[in-house]
């Protein structure tokens, strides 16, 4: 499973941006994602990858890259 592509596609679903418009460095704020929708993305990631992100790590996931790193870390760790 291509983790990066899956994550960008989930963020695209929630934000409404096309996947091509989302880059590794996009912040959730750039994508007009407020705190509730950020939680929505977290829930979607947890369901998709069957992982459990620690509560205190959720606010840290402010960019696409941070989200990808976190998921990779949990999948490989």
């Amino acid at each position: 499973m291509d983790v990066e592509r899956e994550i960008i596609s989930i963020i695209a679903e929630v934000s409404g941006f096309e996947t091509e418009e989302i880059s590794m460095n996009s912040s959730l704020e750039d994508l007009d994602i407020d705190s509730i929708r950020a939680i929505e993305i977290t829930v979607a990631l947890e369901k998709k990858f069957k992982i459990s992100i620690r509560d205190e790590d959720v606010p840290e996931m402010r960019t696409v890259k941070a989200a990808i790193d976190k998921v990779n870390q949990l999948l490989n760790g």
Partner: protein, 477 residues
């Protein structure tokens, strides 16, 4: 039937004139888009509509509104679209009452009064009651993160120990979302409380139909068209992008943006060609649970009932404190016998609507059992309103089959996909679908329910489409 011009191309086509589709249409029309809204029924509104019978006006399904405080979703939409004058909203106080085996509990417009009365009944829980309501009304940040995978029962148990109080506070969820607290997502429970219960009890003086009528008029007053008695039978796609729709009369209408504001199940299983829907999604559609449907009794009264009847208030009848048992029984034969129901006497005291959530069953089942269920429910009501039968001039029922027929909601579902922990925020039922140009809105977007919820999602869908097309979203506020 008059033929529509088939070669016409619209900026957006919307399927379904429920509140979700109508609000979305209003915002798009307001931005100057040419939109075509198609509704299969002969009037707009979906579950938010009224009908006339024997001189009475009945609300068909939804009968009260929430989130109308300054800054509430519905309030903002009324303001943005300037429909205050055509839709007169009033509020009943108390908005809700819960008749338990031990007490009658009121939810007042003044939350402090509610807290005070509840604390007097459950003195040991006084501080917890205060903390619970503060939490519900102010949740954000880390508190929200903490409960993102929790049920509303988990939330209730964070605050309370008294099992009876927990059951009482769970009842509005069963009625407004069709799930017990043990199955409902914490977020949905919190928004039911903040939008429908603590900011609830609003109603439209001349019947709910006024709202969809005003929204339709708004669209027609701009570059939009609302066509009634036209059902969409197919969504045309080419290489994964939508191209338009085919109607029941054979007309074809084109647009690169199609918004499904109707039951998502029919969209993915019937309106789209099989190859457009991935295997993963096909399997998902088999597994996803719709919310419960409802059995509704509409009663017309011959003269004004007397006594302390609390007209306009949603009254929940809780026969005992085992919510799990009540929930289980809603899907079996004895759902009417167990005395859990909601009723509301209209503010003018001319009509009563009684409602029990129940599961979908085939037409034969309802034909055989409808009358028995109707009589059972009237008997229950007569225990609360003595001599009721002598005041009844008209009575009729709607079953899950009736709801499915008039709105085409899958299995007569009252609130779209069930808002369980497993299903909320499901990515396959987001506003943006996996097919280019196809959007979902309304209560099948696995994230909203009820009129304030679908109105909010309707506006969010419009905003998203405009953002993509670089159209200024007019913020009238």
């Amino acid at each position: 039937m008059d033929k529509t011009i088939v070669s016409d191309k619209y900026d957006a086509i919307i399927i379904g004139a429920g509140i979700g589709g109508l609000v979305c249409g209003c915002y798009l029309a307001n931005a100057g888009l040419r939109i075509m809204l198609l509704e299969q029924h002969h009037k707009p509104g979906g579950y938010c509509s009224s009908f006339r019978r024997n001189g009475f006006i009945f609300d068909a399904a939804a009968h009260s509104l929430g989130s109308f405080r300054e800054g509430g979703h519905l309030h903002k939409i009324f303001k943005d679209l300037s429909i205050y004058d055509s839709v007169k909203v009033k509020r009943s106080d108390p908005s809700n009452m819960i008749f338990t085996p031990d007490h009658n509990i009121s939810i007042w417009n003044d939350i402090n009064k509610t807290k005070k009365e509840l604390s007097a009944l459950y003195p040991k829980e006084k501080n917890n009651i205060d903390n619970f309501f503060d939490y519900i009304l102010n949740i954000k940040g880390q508190d929200a993160i903490k409960v993102r995978n929790k049920t509303f029962l988990d939330v209730l148990e964070m605050f309370f120990t008294d099992k009876r109080l927990i059951s009482i506070l769970s009842i509005p969820l069963l009625g407004n979302g069709g799930l017990p607290a043990s199955k409902m997502h914490a977020f949905t429970g919190i928004s039911i409380y903040s939008e429908f219960i603590l900011d609830g009890g609003y109603y439209i003086d001349e019947g709910m139909q006024k709202l969809p009528d005003a929204l339709s008029k708004y669209i027609s007053g701009k570059k939009g068209t609302v066509l009634l008695s036209r059902s969409v039978e197919r969504i045309i796609c080419d290489k994964g992008s939508v191209q338009g729709v085919v109607l029941n009369n054979g007309d074809v209408m084109y647009s690169n943006v199609v918004i499904s504001a109707c039951d998502a199940h029919q969209v993915f299983t019937r309106l789209l060609d099989g190859y457009e829907v991935s295997h993963g999604l096909e399997n998902k559609l088999i597994q996803m649970e719709p919310s419960l449907s409802a059995f509704i009794l509409y009663i017309g009264l011959n003269d004004k009932l007397k006594g302390a009847l609390h007209p306009g208030t949603n009254i929940w009848h809780l026969p005992h404190y085992n919510i799990e048992d009540i929930y289980e029984s809603l899907s079996n034969d004895s759902f009417a016998e167990q005395k859990y129901f909601l009723y509301r006497i209209s503010p003018d005291k001319n009509t009563i609507q009684l409602l029990v959530n129940t599961s979908y069953r085939n037409a034969d089942y309802w034909n055989e059992n409808k009358e028995r269920i109707q009589e059972t429910l009237i008997n229950h009501l007569e225990n609360i309103i003595p001599d009721l039968r002598n005041h009844i001039k008209h009575v009729e029922t709607a079953t899950p089959i009736t709801l499915a027929k008039f709105t085409r909601n899958y299995r007569g579902s009252a609130f779209g996909w069930a808002h369980s922990v497993e299903q909320l925020f499901d990515v396959d039922f987001n506003i943006r679908s996996s097919i280019k140009g196809l959007y979902l809105t309304g209560h099948w977007t696995a994230k909203a329910l009820g009129i304030p919820g679908v109105a909010y999602v309707g506006s969010a869908t419009a905003k998203l489409i405009m953002m993509k097309d670089n159209i200024m979203y007019k913020q009238t506020a």
